[in-house]
Each structure stands twice: as structure tokens, then as C-alpha cells.
Subunit: 449 residues, 4 copies
Amino acid sequence: MSAADAVTDSLKRMRAEFGDVPGGRPADYIPQLGLADPDAFGLALVSMDGHRYSAGEAEVPFTIQSVSKPFIYALALSVLGLDEVSRWVGAEPSGDAFNAISLEPGTGRPANAMVNAGAIVTTALIPDAPDEPAFERILHCLGRFAGRELDVDEEVFTSEAMTGDRNRALAYLIRATGTMPVDPVLAVDRYFRQCAVRVTALDLATMAATLAYGGVNPVTREQVVPAEVAARVLAVMATCGMYDGSGEWLLRIGLPAKSGVSGGLIAVGPARFGLATYSPPLDTSGNSVRGQAALRALSERYGLHLMLNPALPGSTVSLVTTADDLPSAPSAEHERVLHEQVGVVAAQGAIDFTAAERVLYALDESGPDGGSVVLDLHDVTVVDSVALSMLHIGLGRLSADGRRAAVVDPRGLLGPTETARKGTGQDLPRYATREAAVEGCAKALAGED
Amino acid sequence: MSAADAVTDSLKRMRAEFGDVPGGRPADYIPQLGLADPDAFGLALVSMDGHRYSAGEAEVPFTIQSVSKPFIYALALSVLGLDEVSRWVGAEPSGDAFNAISLEPGTGRPANAMVNAGAIVTTALIPDAPDEPAFERILHCLGRFAGRELDVDEEVFTSEAMTGDRNRALAYLIRATGTMPVDPVLAVDRYFRQCAVRVTALDLATMAATLAYGGVNPVTREQVVPAEVAARVLAVMATCGMYDGSGEWLLRIGLPAKSGVSGGLIAVGPARFGLATYSPPLDTSGNSVRGQAALRALSERYGLHLMLNPALPGSTVSLVTTADDLPSAPSAEHERVLHEQVGVVAAQGAIDFTAAERVLYALDESGPDGGSVVLDLHDVTVVDSVALSMLHIGLGRLSADGRRAAVVDPRGLLGPTETARKGTGQDLPRYATREAAVEGCAKALAGED
Amino acid sequence: MSAADAVTDSLKRMRAEFGDVPGGRPADYIPQLGLADPDAFGLALVSMDGHRYSAGEAEVPFTIQSVSKPFIYALALSVLGLDEVSRWVGAEPSGDAFNAISLEPGTGRPANAMVNAGAIVTTALIPDAPDEPAFERILHCLGRFAGRELDVDEEVFTSEAMTGDRNRALAYLIRATGTMPVDPVLAVDRYFRQCAVRVTALDLATMAATLAYGGVNPVTREQVVPAEVAARVLAVMATCGMYDGSGEWLLRIGLPAKSGVSGGLIAVGPARFGLATYSPPLDTSGNSVRGQAALRALSERYGLHLMLNPALPGSTVSLVTTADDLPSAPSAEHERVLHEQVGVVAAQGAIDFTAAERVLYALDESGPDGGSVVLDLHDVTVVDSVALSMLHIGLGRLSADGRRAAVVDPRGLLGPTETARKGTGQDLPRYATREAAVEGCAKALAGED
Amino acid sequence: MSAADAVTDSLKRMRAEFGDVPGGRPADYIPQLGLADPDAFGLALVSMDGHRYSAGEAEVPFTIQSVSKPFIYALALSVLGLDEVSRWVGAEPSGDAFNAISLEPGTGRPANAMVNAGAIVTTALIPDAPDEPAFERILHCLGRFAGRELDVDEEVFTSEAMTGDRNRALAYLIRATGTMPVDPVLAVDRYFRQCAVRVTALDLATMAATLAYGGVNPVTREQVVPAEVAARVLAVMATCGMYDGSGEWLLRIGLPAKSGVSGGLIAVGPARFGLATYSPPLDTSGNSVRGQAALRALSERYGLHLMLNPALPGSTVSLVTTADDLPSAPSAEHERVLHEQVGVVAAQGAIDFTAAERVLYALDESGPDGGSVVLDLHDVTVVDSVALSMLHIGLGRLSADGRRAAVVDPRGLLGPTETARKGTGQDLPRYATREAAVEGCAKALAGED
């Protein structure tokens, strides 16, 4: 495991560089939080392959606090659906502090699920399951995100429950506006209990990676929530996750994120990674001072900004290959002949709407009218339903124009032959290798001659 | 061009399906806007390859209005840098209407560059260039985003200038708080003039695609603004682009967007596409009724949500290939022998931080201690500087651990040999093909025996 | 009692004229309030002499609701003092609705004691007395304002307690900001109980009259709260009593007022009268539709605006009387002689700072240097401490200037002779009648001659 | 003028006591204001008789600034009426700073005429008169309030005009919402010009006294604005005059007030006095530090709180006099006989609704059924129209009940005999003196016997 230590080194460098950043104080509104070691500083990164990297105090336990909010929201969306959840809680940045007493004019909904008011509601919305009371359900869900069983720090829970007047006020207020179906005292109790769930930075990075990876925990490979739910949670984290500094955070760091008062902070690189830091000293907005500094540096230096898509001189998703590019051309002369009449379009990776457009465009470009074209899907890993439909339609149109097409589809990504026939109105010859396909097409063309 | 008509078909279907959506009225605060054909409905999509698709009235000219805001912001960031621009305008959603009279407490800055106040400031910030007065500079910049020369609808400009008291109020207010360095009357005049620049839906889609494509116009291939600037503009569009409904928009549609009062609407799929619609009837928030409906349907049906990353069963970026996977094994027996001691890691596409981690992890996994490994970069198109550094460090650590490594790097992506040696502390054998590399490693291993 | 029926007639006319005003609905958030007779319409007026006038359903009982707020505030000010009460609740109009969830930034205080949040605090601030628990104290205080023992409508109380989430939210919120020293649940319970105290329009008019009359119930003559407290309560009613319409109300109606959700409404003419109406249908702001209409008409037609002080051609407070004005001059000739050298200043009524200034100015004007002056206080009813001090100083200065002064002070308003001497540095001759004084002065002048 | 020096002494004491209060800084946003002598401290008081008292720098000229606002509002109300003015500007406290950019939701009106936005509107509303351009009209009106011709400090005007972006913003904003009928640039120019009108503390006290005195300048005796207008201006000053501290000011000081950025401050005791101070150092809210301290002390020590009405043991307005109280009873025996059957009610001063009620009540109480009553108006100075109507109705009812009444009305306050007959349905015997009336009644009773 030595080459990949280069990744660990990155985290260690961040820890060394930002471990001495002064300023901030651990939260102390309850004694238990104030007891946290202010020098503890853990960083963790989990990749889409489930590789876990960490530095510093990444396995020190602390209470999850507000970092739980996106995951409870995810659970609520999974159980109740977006439309039902949207009846009770909005998705607009509030421009207010985390504990703002502001409900949406007109609807009485909390602004979003990332502020206390919204999180109290989403927590309250989780129904008991037949075999599992609501809080157990929440605890198990958090555990599935983290990839291990989690527990509650009862001492922190008890202390928070004793000082929670503001959250009780929120809960009563929300019920008063008709936007919470449960008893305010119970709702706040359950909310505090969930805030007191114990995690580590490595847990949080795994949880973040699960959101990044379409709701699948990349370590355990369990689908914790549907991909659509994970996408929506990330959208809300992007606009509302860092409270009244969310816009500036997305502008500069460019990663959906969420912080908690105990010093935890997560950031998500969609389809790329989950990141987490733990460092108790907080700034006046309640965000970890060192955690923010480290994430900002990581984003800037490693080009992690969600929107950062440098214009690349080429692309991996699809390309037109000429015969010259075939890796092992048996006969240059033979190829030259074929090349004149058989185009080859090779695609790689996952094919979605965007990639499908490129494939179709390349098919059009791949050869002369009346010629043949081979679509090589050997290196394609998956074709989503939108792309599948587009490919069938495109290939059908190609046939209708009188061009002959063949596919290399060793994994049967285009579906059973009957399906394909339905789309195209004709049989689409299928081959196991590109060479075979090109030869098949050449022969067919020769036969036509 | 028949296969790719499948894309055009998608747009045509949207036009047919949403062209009859009732409700909304064209803006009529000036007569010229009220004269717009309420039935005009154009859609356009431009891909990262510069392919342009459209349906309906996609080439009908109209004034750009607020859709100009992200592009002027991009120009300001390019000319002045983020820190300077941030002195004058913020990046937080205001939670207010587009023409809200709200400046940030404390700083007096407009909330963000997507509301009128902010756009007046960013417009005012553009300095005259030696050879080009500020407005010409703005007009030319918009033209470079669109890929053609644009002009001003003088009639609309004159009308807006006559009714622009609210914007004049904003301009005076902003200067009063010290956050605008130019004369309010001139600033508003220039702002109105830029709002009156004439575009089509196809222009807007190209402009959006330029933001999607790292600031490079995918049609003209011109780098209009730096990639970092495009990323930041998209971040602000994501949190602030749809005014006080930005959070809900990102939650459900999941695409950075911007609308204008003349009926234009753009949405950006970063690294994927630029989309634009034109339909004058507006809802009460000032957004195109049909444009929103069409974009929402497109996003949902075609899986365009920015954050939607379904957990895929494999990946295109890097993989460990065993000898069995070599496309044209000359000798099965020979390969079997090699396979025991030489691992092969093949990567494809663009290598960034995330991909580099996967490559390094795969190198570690690729073979026994003391064995050799070939890193095949034949299908890699680009390696960014972060990834380059990580690869050198990782390969260096591998060597330090006693494993022999070789690279297939026909395009010299890892840099000149000297550079590579600096990183690894040793010579890293380079080969033009994977077969040559495997054979080279096998021979070296044999020589060591 | 027939002449004064002219007053009753005024109220009856208002009842007749506004009893059919349509619109509004009785509050119905609890069933008991919704049961109120929408046609009930009572009006009552109580004068500073304790005369009680009424029309319509002025003796129908209903729960006092928010009309209790000024009286609880008065009790809190009496018990704790203004500075202590001001630590917990502000005195600024909130510009918000009655049940707004807004606390003062920085202090966390409710905006004022006329909104729910503030009234919950003032209610909570009332401490138990040694012999009387806090709620009994409140109930007895309300009774002293009304001039009779009051009781609680237990059914309304129970219903309100069941639907009071918003007020419970307020109470928790307030305690969370440190601005309430008692348990939120108990505070809200006590608040609801006080809102459920049963009164009639005649009771409310008496309560209002008590505030008008310097804290003294004009019927029972009991000093319920100190005059300063009554003044302050009226000031807060003036700026905050009609919620977010307080400014417009004071502008047009010009009377400190307070309304309640059960249909009660009081208005105070300071030093003039207390008015109350009862009519359950409320407008959307929660104020009685007919009550407001009647009070507005009363104010406009009867010139009751607090600030309305038409410039009068003369004044009642003090005047220079010449000898000609003496009611029964025994000898015209004798008077004429005296008149040349003895001025007479006669004052009437209550002498405060303003009146004292007029008296002193009149003394200066009343005669030639070296002449004498008689200050006739026969018709003066009271001299406040400020005026007393000013009169002594002024008379002292007069003596120092060489003018002889005498006072007619049959009730000893200027205090014992010693006190007066202290102020003036000399003996001030005192007489029982004006004639005696003038004669005394004339003789003294004659003696000096 | 020595006795009344006791009043001047009060002002001098305030000056001495508060002249050293530290803190605050003269406004310096334009150099001319910053040049003001920070030690200048003038106080002035003008009584309802037009008596003028002052101490310190009460005749030092300075620009009126925002203290002009109530007077411009008064002019607008006079010229256009309340309903028209209310279309353009509200009357609610804004809870905001003086220069807040907030217009009323829905109407777009400035909150009230005491904040800049509102004052710009009221200034703009003043139309040109046939013989007098609008600004001259404003200047002359301010002069009539002050009792002398005023002029403009052109240097201050020019400086303010150069730095007035915020007010220009307001003006454009207001016109944008449709709530100002004139050109924003002209409106602001006129507003600044009026703010630069030069006054002294003595001028301001006279202006304040004019508002106190029902719109009549007590020095010049000119009716500058109608009494209703003055009342309304005072109401708005009470709720909005001290910006966001108006509620606290009315609670504690209890006087409608208005401050200006040059250090001026006025306070009005309705029907009592006008007060003004001048001291340039301002607190952070823009109010004169020493001016506020002095006014607060004056109010507290001299009992000037508008609402302060101590319960008095008697009253001056009306009383039942028995024969024993007649000042010079010619024959005790005769009187005793009469006294058994003739009651006497003597009233003093101005009779309004409140006083009329007392008179009528006293008439009812004044004697046995079937007896006679004399209403003695000898000491009454004025009877307003409401009271006149009530007296006629009450006397009519008395007659209808069979009681004989007579009036002493030497000044004909009850109107011509015909008018009286109309009200009462009978002839009401009138006498010049009380004695004559009592004798007349006694004779009539005797005649009936």
C-alpha cells in the first residue's frame, strides 16, 4: 500500500499546515462539548472504490450534531418521497443563522432541512416502522451510511436536553403553524438524541462518500438511499449546508458541505469522494476553523471544485477511431480498404444522455453515406435507460438512412436482440470483437457490391 | 446527420409537450417587451464538442436582459480577479426578488451578481481597456461567449432607460455605501445597454455551453474566460441564479441556471452541455413559464441533475487489467508466466486527483511485493498538475518499496525523463506499447533471477 | 339624571350608526370564542368623576384576552419598577403582528409588552407575594382596575391552553435568550389564565378610566397604580397598542388604545375619560371592526384626539385681573386708587410647571416696579411640587426686586409660613380673601408713602 | 421680568448640569457640519402665551436639517389634506434608521414622514402656488412657524447636494414605486435646500410651540396650520419622531420630539410649551447627546410627560356651587331660602366634550326635581361646537323633566336666543350675573307657588 500513501500524505500535509491555525473555541453551551480536546484534528477521505485515507485524530469519537442533518433528510426523502417531505420543509437558503426562528411566510415551513427548525421537522417526520421505532430507524440508517453500528452519547444527550429551550421553541412554533405532525417535546427529544450519535472523522467521510456515490456506501456496497435521494441531499447541502455562508462556500470551495457544533465537517465531491474533518474550535458562525481552512486548501490545490471542468483537448467518453488506431492491425492493406467504407466508433465508460449524444454524433460523422459503421461498446461499463433509448433511436435512424451498422457488445448492454429490433426496426448485427465486426461489415459491403 | 437527430427529437418533443402550457404573461413594463410573440418557443442545446441542436424559435432574436448577468460577472472576475470583485459584490443568495433593495449589512455590498444591484456593480466594475471602451468590451465578451458578433436593440435600450428609476435608485444607493466606483447614471445606462444586447436561444445555449466547458466556447474553441472563472460563475448561478427559488430549483432540476425578463432561460450541465429556452410568458417571479417546465422535464427524464451520480458497477477511469484482458495476446503460455509477476494498470481519459488516487491504489493492488507493474497511459488524454505530482510521488514510493515499475506513455504525459527522475529518484522505463512494457518488465525480472 | 343623558345619547347614536357595519368574524381558533354573539355591541364611557355611561351590550361578560396586557404591564411596573421591567421587555413598536416571533436583536427582549411575547414576560415577572400567589395578585389587580371582583372563564382557559403552541414557542424562545426567569409552561399557563378573566365593556371602560386618571380608579377612588406607572402604560399603548397599525391609529384617532381577540377594545383620553367597546367580529388584524369604527367616529366628532389643542382665545389657568373684574367691588373709587399700585393675579385649578410659568409671568406684568401684587390662589385646587418650588423662587425674586407681594391662600397651598419664608427669605403676607389682601397691600403702600 | 426668571433658571441649570456630558461627535459627513462648535449648547422654551425663555447658545444659527420634517409634513397636510398625503406616505414607525431604504410592502409608501424617504416625498408633494414657487412656499411656511423670515445656508446646501447619493437613491426608488409625482433629482435638491434652512434654538422652540398651540404661533398669534394638522403632526412625532428609539422616548420622556443631524432637537408639550435644544455632538443614532439628556431631565423633574395626569383631589372645569360659596352674599337669610330650591352650577375655562359631560352631570345633581338650576358661564372662555350641542340637548332634557333652568352667559357663548330655543324647545332665561339669575329663578319659583 505504498503508492497510495501519496493520498494519505496529502491529508497529513493539510493536518500539519492547518493544525496550528489559531482562533476559534470549542462549543461550550453544554459542558460535555467544552471538554473536547481543542488540538484534536482528524482528516479522512473515502473514495468511490471505498478506499479510506486518514490523518490525525480521524478515529476519535465525538457527537455528530448537525452533520446528521443531511442524512436524516435523506432518510425522510427515502421513506416519504420528495413531494411529501416538501410539504413540511422547504429547500431555500434562509440567509439566517443555524438556529434562526424563521419559517416560510405563507406555508409556515422551515426554510430548509439544514437549519435546526428543518431538521427537527425531518426527524419528526420519520415514522415508526413495524419492527423498528423511529429513533432506532434513524440510528440504523446513520449506521448504514457510516458502515458500522453507531451508538448515542447519553451524557451529551442529557445535557443538550437540559438546555434546549430554543429548539423547544422552534418545535412548538412549527407545530403551531401546522407543519409538524408530532408532539414538540418528543420531537426535540428525538432530535437531541440523534445529534448525540457518536461518530469519527472516518465515519463521516464514509457517510459523505455514500452521498457522493449515488447513495451506495462505497465500503460496504450497500445501497443506503436511492441515487435520486442522494442527489437531492447534495443539492440542498450545496445551497444551504454552510448556513448564511453557503453561497461564498460554494463559490470558493465548490463542494456541498455540512458542519456540526462539535467540530465535525463533511464535504462531498459528487462521484469522486467523501471528505471529513474533526477539529473542535469553532468560528463565530459555529463552523470548525481548521476544518474549513483545510477543506479550502484541499479544494484549491487539488482542483476539487464541483464546477471546475477545464476544457480538455480530448475526451474519454467516445471517439471516432479510424482503422489506423486499431491496436493490432493484422494487415495494413486490408485495413485501408475497409477504412474507406467501414467507420468505427468506440465508446468507453458509462453512457448517459451526454455520452449518447456524442456517440450518435460520431456515428453520423463516421463514414460516407451508404457506408457501414461499427459501434464498439467493448469498453463501455454501463448504459443508462435514457442513453439506451437514444442509441436505439439513433441507430434506427441510421438504418433508415441506408447505412449499415453493427455493434460490438460483448456484455449485451443494448439488451436482447428483440428489444433492439423494436427500436431499430431491423436486426442489428452483433459481434464479440471489433475486428469481427469490421470484417462482418466489410463482407456485407462486399456482398452488396 | 441522422443518428444525432435523436437529440433534436428530444428538444422537439419538449417543445410540443410544453408549447401549450398556459399561464404567464410577457413582461410589459416597456412596450417593446410586451410586443413579443407569446407563442414563440425555442429550445437549443450545445454539447461540449460544439454540436448544436435546436427546436422551435431558436433563432428568433430577443434582448438578453438578466441572462447577461453571469457573463458580465465572468468578465469582471477575469479582468479583476475574485478577491477584487468580492470587495464590491457578495455571493450569498438574497432570498429576495430580483430587484430587491437590499445590500449586505456591514459591507453595503449587493448580495450577489445575479440580482440587479449586483449586476449594476459588476457592469460598473469593468474598466475601459486601452483600445476598447468598457461597453464595447462587454459587448465583445458577450459575443465571444456566443460565438458571433452581437448588437444592441436600441429601441429596447431607450425604453428601459426611460423607466429605470428602481435601478437608478439601486445605483445611487450602492455608490452611497461606497461599493461602486463610477457615476450611478452612467452605470445604469451601461447596465441597460447590456441588457438590450440581442441574442437567440441558440446563442444562449452556446454561451451556457462555454461556461459548462471550462470557459472555452465549444463551437469556436476560443478560451473566453479561465476555467476557474467559469467554475465560480456556475457556483453563483447554482445558489443565486433563480432568485428566491434557487434552492428549490437546484433541488429539483439540479442545473445552474439564469433567467431573463424577455423570456430567455439558460441551464448548464457542467462538462456536459449548455441549454437555453426562449418563451416570453413569465410567471409572477419573472421566469419563463414554458422554459422552466421544459427544463424541468428534460432534467428529470434525461437524468441531467448535477448531483445525480448513480452508483455504477464499474468505472472508466482506471482499472487493473490482467494479462487475460490484453487485446491480442501473442502467446497464451508466455502471458501466463508473465502474469504471475507483472501487473498491468491501464488508465483512460483525463487523470485528476480522483483518478490519480485510483491509479495509485490499483498500482498497490496490482501484483506481489517484489514484482513489477506496468502503468499503461495509452488511453489517457490528459494528466493535470495535481495528478502528475501524485503519480510521480506514488511511483517513487513504489520503487522505494522495491517494486519495479514501467510506464506506457506514448504521448509523454508524465513529462521529460528528467522530470520523472526527479520525482522518483530513479529512471522509470518508458515504453510505447503495453506489450513492450510487459516484455521489458518480464525480461528485467528474468535478468534479476 | 336627564341632562347627562346627552352623553348616553352619544353612545347610543354610535351603537345605532355602527351596529350594522358589516364584515369581520369573531375569532374562532377556539370554539368558545366562536360562540360569541356577533351582533352584541356594547359601548361604555367612564369619566374622571367616575360617572359611567353605556349603550348596548355593555354588561355582557366576555374574556378580556389581550386587553389585559396594559394592566399586567402596569402591575409589573408597580411591583418591579421601570428599570427592572425594561431589562426584560422593550418599548418599541415591533411593526409586526400580535403574535410575531421577534425578539430584539442584541438583548433578546420582546419588542414591547403589548405583543404576546412581551405580555408573557410581564406576566411571568409578577412575583408571588407573601400572602398571595402571583396569579391571584394579577386577578386582584385587574379587579381593582375594574372596581369589582373578577373571575376566570375556566372553559376558555382550558381551550386556549390546548391550542397554545405558538405562545409556548414564544415562552421557550424567550427563556432561551435569557429574558424570562420562570418555567415556560407555567408562564404560558398563567398568561392564558389571565387572558380568560371575564369582564364587561363597562368594566373595561372603568379600567381605561383608571389609566386616564393617574392610576386612580375614578369610581372607587382607589389608587391602583402610581401616576407615573399609568403615564408610562399610556405611552406604550400610544406607540404599540394597536399592533402594526399603531401609528395610523394615533394619527387619526389620537387615543392610546388596546384591543383583544374576543372583541374588546379600550381607548384612553388622558385626564378625560376611559372608553370601551365590545363587538366580536374582528378584521384581519384581529381588531373589532365595529369597535374601531365607533371609536374613530367618536374621536373625530367629539374632538377627542389626544394632541388636539385648538388655540383658545384665553385660558383658565391664570390671568391678570384688574380691579374692574373684582366680583363685588365695594367702592369703585377706592378700587381705582388701589388699582394703580396693587396688581392682582388670580389663578384657578391645578398649578403645575406650565401654569406656574404663567403665574410668574403674570406677576411680573401685574404692576409697576415698586408696586405691590396680590397672588390670589382662592380658586386653585392643587399646586404640585415643581410649581410650588417655582412659585417660592419667583416670589422671592420679586421681593428681591423691591416689589411687595401678598397671597390669598385660604387652603394653605403654599405650605406653612416657615417653608414659604425659606424660599423667599422674608415673610409673605397671607390673606383669606382677595379684598383683604388688596386692602392690606394698599395700606402697606400707604404706610410706605 | 424677575419672577419669571425662575423659568430661565431651570434652563440655565440644565445647561450647567448637562453641558459637560461627554461623548458624541458632531456630524461630519460634510465638512460644514463638522465645523460646528461642539461646546455650543443652547436651550429655549416658548409658552402658549408666547413667552420666550432661553439659556446658552440659543441664538446661534445652524441648519435645521431633519427638524424640518414635521413642519413640512404639516404644510403638506394643510395644502393637500390627510387623505391625499396618506396616499403617498404612511404613518407607522419603521423600526429602522433615519435613512432606511424601506418602503411599505404593497403600497410602496415610505413608512412615515419623519424618515428621509418620507420627508423627500412630503417635500416633493408641495405644489407651486400661483404666486410662489414650491420652495419659497416651504421657506415662508418654516418662517411663519418660527415667527421670522428664514434663509438658506447655501454652503451647507451645496455640500449636502454633493454627498447625497443615498437620498437620491431613495428618491428614485420612491418614484419607481409610483409614490412620488416629481423628478427625483429636483425632489432631492429641494429636500436638501430645506434641510439647509438656518434657525436658532429659540426659533425651533417657537416652531415647536406653534405645534403645541394648535397650529397658532403663540408669539405672532398667526394661525400657521389648522389645529387638526398640528394634532396629527404631533401624533406622528410621538410614534416616529425619534427613529427606532421612538417608543422608549415616549415611554420615558413622554414628549413628541424630533431631532436633526446638526444638533437641533425639539420637544412639544401639547397645549403647554415648545422646547428646543442645540448641541452638535450626536450619538450613534444621530441624536444630540446633551439635548436628549437635558430634555429627559426636564421631563422627569418638571413632570412634563404627556400622559402624566396625577389624580387631582378636585377640578377646575366645573363644580356645583352652593349658595354658601357665593362670593358676596348680600343676605344670608335670603340665600338660604333660595338655596333650598335653586341650584347653581358654575363652570370655568374652555368647555369641550369632557367638560360638557361634567356640567351636565352637575346640573342633574344640582337640585331637587321640580327645582331650578342656574348654569353660570361667567368664567367660561369658550365652548366648542360639540360641547355647545351637548349643553343645548342637556338643558332641553332638563326642561322636559320639568326643571327650570337659567344661564349666566354675559358673552353670549350659548349663541343667540333663537338657536338656544331650537335646542331646548323653550326660552332659556339669560342673565348677566349669577345673583340676578338666582333671584330670577327664585322669583319664578315663588310665582309658581
